[in-house]
Symmetry: C2
Amino acid sequence: MELPEAKQKFIEAWGKLGSEWGINRTMAQVHALLLISPEALTTEQVMEQLQISRGNANMTLRDLINWGLLEKEHRTGERKEYFFAEKDVWTIARQVAKERKRRELEPVLKLLTQLQEVQGDEKDPEYKTFKKSVTDINKLAGNVDKTLETMLKAEENWFFGSIFKIFK
Amino acid sequence: MELPEAKQKFIEAWGKLGSEWGINRTMAQVHALLLISPEALTTEQVMEQLQISRGNANMTLRDLINWGLLEKEHRTGERKEYFFAEKDVWTIARQVAKERKRRELEPVLKLLTQLQEVQGDEKDPEYKTFKKSVTDINKLAGNVDKTLETMLKAEENWFFGSIFKIFK
DNA sequence: GTATATTTTCAATATATACTGAAAGTTTAA
DNA sequence: TTAAACTTTCAGTATATATTGAAAATATAC
């Protein structure tokens, strides 16, 4: 396979995977484009390569910066902004984990903890089942949270090394 | 907080979390409803409790069965089907991991492996950057795949126990 | 200072996704 | 065997989500 086709397929696959995981397709595609680009690109170049509008490109690039996946670069004598992606995949994975933990996992954990304090009759099967499910999920979610916390602090080889030696 | 309010909040939160992770809100809500229900429920009961149509209830219940999260029950002398959820959260987590691995991770892994074989000039920065990114992502994805494989085979205490002792 | 290049905003619009409801299909108790 | 109970299907519709594009705001080279 030649480079242009491979690039194309990579960007499409990244977009599809993103959308399956609740990340907007265009955002994932812009990220993919910058990830495989050796140079920083302008909004104009992103628009052209992905055939998207200026508004869309601008908002998507800003979002990616908020996710901590892109940075801006300014060049002296030039007015426009250049965008480039963090290239280290382990750093990217941690960054995504960090954001999703903060945005999605933590609010749910907080609610589950509140729900565990629901009042009711211990003999009521409705109550018992509810309480058990909530408690169990809370416990699992708490452990996921702790695992992510560990991952965020960890060196790359935490993931690439340790786990497999232990559980082989 | 009283039980009805707590149930309501739990179902809403589960639906929201699902939709943030690419799982249709209604499907997550139906799952939540059955998870906290001590008894198996009929399509009719699900329709009523979540205020959804018969078509939607039917398709969603079927989907959840395909995800391995629900089972049907037949009662002698009754024609209708009763649905109940797997209640063990560790089993649920593994089941979801298994399906998403199969549906989403594995196709991507296959493509990435193909893309690694892209032809080009080693001196071309475009080529070098593309190849490095794809190789790195493939490696990470391969490790995620292996970790999930381990998780699928593991006992509950793999997650609830080991990891934390090691990395505390 | 200011003309203009560039970025940002957001109402209007388009697209993708989910849901409804009624009709068709299927099952089973009698 | 058949009629009613129940399940499934899917075209039409609604809702949610994403995108456009042009106008407004901003920044900077000269």
